[in-house]
Symmetry: C2
Subunit: 463 residues, 2 copies
């Protein structure tokens, strides 16, 4: 692959500049007021695909944000790779914690990224990662090295639950037919320890509203006589965990897969420095389910977190109000074989049952997603393993990821295609946080690795 190497060296600065331009577009899918920017980002993505030689490039409208498609069919006998990614990003708040504006990318050196890292919302999740595929495709096209057919499907609603992707897949089954889905939206253990994600947690995301009195009251006149919905909500949330930090929702653990001692042992052999982990987070102690290690808690155990809470007076100073309502966003990460639809129902029933008569409770569900396990003995896994080994000089470790990419289970079901989760980020890249960044090393290493995947996948499939 010498030709690719020299093409890469000659063009890498441009590869970076092009990514920086994409990072300047605030394609925040959760906030309706950014819809024009999301649209602009879809157009920029389509334009890039066209420029590097994809055919049939089209921006497909959905009920939400559009999906960008493009393809290159080189040989009807060659296997087909469907590249999935997303061009939308998380909201950047809290803004005041960013060291530089989230949509004005800068490259800065850090301890973990001595070659420099790109700081911007979306740098790692997922603009930097999906764009590696566009650039790897450009290299293969230019050097006539494309050994597989390629289809790109880059969506704009991953951060809000990929609401319209399933319908698009169902409606376009034939167009999207493929042998494997290739996704870069996960991380490696560290830059010296490549890894492939072989499991993802599922997600169940709920919103709750607790109503006490029908209006805000004076806490002096009514305090002590009327249930305060904030106090009640706190009590309800507190009761969602027991003293062992197990989740108390009835039936919650019924379908949780039991992981063998052998598998747990292997998992815990991954490099992990608890002191360094706590130091980087600034915490004096970790907190999690009793009887499990941190790697297990984030990999094979389900969890429940409040992602947001609000109610009453939250301005400056003091207001003696007994509020009418309190709200929380509560999400659960699920593991095989938990079903997010079933967990939604269990949670809603449990939460409604928890509520004292003195309040009313409304529970609604945001998006959810099924947990995923990737088999490590498949052709696609072996191709990815060899590709990373070639690029990093080291065989990647199989790793369970704590996050969720709900669409992986959907691809399996709707397109009958298995996914390869070959991401290049680091857990410390602050995705979903202020100062999100993505290492230049990682960006370039991804662009280098992807063509190897095509090469090995085509040759393994032929056998």
């Amino acid at each position: 692959m010498k030709e690719l190497k020299s093409y890469f060296e000659a063009n890498k600065d441009r590869f970076l500049d092009e990514l920086l331009d994409l990072l300047r577009i605030p394609s925040i899918s959760a906030d309706p007021k950014y819809a024009p920017d999301v649209r602009r980002m879809a157009e920029a993505t389509a334009e890039h695909l066209r420029k590097v030689g994809a055919d049939q490039v089209e921006i497909f409208p959905t009920d939400g944000h559009p999906i960008v498609y493009g393809e290159k069919m080189v040989d009807p006998k060659a296997p087909t790779v469907l590249v999935y990614g997303h061009y939308d990003v998380q909201p950047p708040d809290p803004l005041d914690l960013w060291d530089s504006p989230p949509f004005e990318p800068v490259v800065k050196k850090t301890k973990l990224h001595p070659q420099g890292a790109i700081f911007a919302r979306g740098a790692c999740d997922d603009k930097g990662q999906f764009f590696m595929h566009v650039k790897a495709f450009e290299m293969m096209m230019q050097q006539n090295k494309l050994s597989c057919n390629v289809k790109f499907m880059i969506e704009g609603e991953e951060e809000v639950g990929s609401k319209n992707l399933e319908k698009f897949c169902r409606d376009n089954r034939k167009k999207l037919s493929c042998d494997v889905v290739l996704i870069s939206d996960t991380s490696i253990i560290d830059n010296q320890t490549p890894s492939l994600t072989v499991g993802l947690r599922g997600l169940c995301y709920m919103e709750v509203e607790v109503t006490g009195p029908n209006k805000d009251l004076h806490s002096g006149v009514y305090g002590g006589a009327v249930a305060n919905p904030v106090n009640v909500l706190c009590q309800m949330i507190a009761s969602l965990h027991d003293s062992k930090r197990r989740i108390t929702v009835e039936g919650f653990y019924d379908d949780v897969e039991k992981v063998s001692g052998k598998e747990r042992k292997a998992m815990n052999e991954a490099p992990y420095d608890e002191k360094q982990y706590m130091k980087s987070l600034g915490v004096a102690e970790l907190m999690g389910e009793k009887g499990f290690t941190t790697i297990e808690r984030t990999g094979i155990r389900p969890t429940l977190d409040v992602n947001g809470i609000w109610g009453g007076y939250i301005g400056e100073g003091a207001k003696t109000v007994l509020p009418s309502k309190a709200f929380a966003k509560i999400s659960m990460r699920l593991v095989p074989n938990q079903d997010p639809k079933k967990i939604e129902k269990l949670f809603a029933r449990h939460f409604e049952k928890l509520a004292p008569k003195s309040v009313k409770v409304k529970v609604t569900a945001h998006h959810g997603g099924y947990p995923v396990v990737v088999p490590t003995n498949s052709v696609e896994y072996k191709a990815a393993e060899k590709a990373m080994e070639q690029a990093f000089g080291k065989k990647p470790l199989p790793q369970r990821g704590g996050g969720s990419i709900p669409i992986v289970a959907m691809f399996d079901q709707v397109l009958d295609a298995r996914s390869v989760l070959m991401g290049f980020g680091l857990d410390s890249d602050d995705i979903h946080s202020p100062n999100e960044h993505y290492g230049l090393y990682n960006y370039y290493k991804g662009i280098e690795t992807i063509p190897y995947f095509y090469q090995f996948y085509a040759s393994l499939k032929k056998k």
Copy 2:
């Protein structure tokens, strides 16, 4: 008092218009961006005092919002009444729950106010009530019926804890020397059941900040391994009450005065319709300390309420964040003989002790205030009782109020003067809530009652 009556009838429409003008000024003391409006309100108040004949009118600057002073000395041998009130108002949020804009007063009829009520922030608390004194003073001046010396002290920081009033009182002891402090900032039981407030709860208002990790994290990558400050805060808040809804802060009840069975029995004879009370609040059940009635829970028992809570993502849609910080404003209503300074310390110590090692906690105190009991056998109480009886045709009931006017205890201490709490609002007037209002009946009845007080107070003092 016939002359006053006819002067009142001839001028009552103007009395209303003048109040409406004052209600148009958004004198929100808690929010620094309204400082110019607060200033404008102080000037308007001073101007009104001047216009009706007060001398020595002056706007005294403080480290916060200014205090308006004015006086009329009619006879060195007559007793002196110090009228206290406040021209600042609570923030109006949540704005979307107001039926009409909070600073554009409208008069509308309601079930409880068939003659009409003025809807605006501050209508009852306290612009409508302090301004009754200005108008009653005008009537007495015009008709040459002022039987006491009068001093007005109208401040602009009651809703933010009267931070600078004590210093002003200490610095101006002589200027403010008086026989009694007359305050209208409380309520009567209903328009058919006049009452005088003989007890007020104290206040201790705290703000807490819980910090988990040093930045917002992705709840998929870190969820289950790192303490979530929102979950922890909820747990801590939940634990502040036990199953009997008693407050668990160590030592909290140590100084609570035991109220005799006889007093409790008398208190519970006040008109109170629990069904109606629940209906008006839209709740299916009340919640409060076991073993006490609603009247007792809001009158003689201390309470703890969360006034505001916030943390994590509170925008539209779903964000899978494990937040770095969570916050709450928590206030306690205190009863005799609890000391707010002591309770602040007990709360802070308790809250800090509650925190697991996995988080950091910061506890700060906003303003506080001492609880108050007014003796019913004093000259000033008897004068107020007779004045109300004269105006309402019915002897007022002594009543313990749930709210706090922290400065009453301070007047006692610094000015060596007892206060009379002769307010004319209703508990249902939605002070501190959207759609605050004040009955025209109540506004006019107050203006009618106040001159009787002066008359009876002067004559009882002479004896």
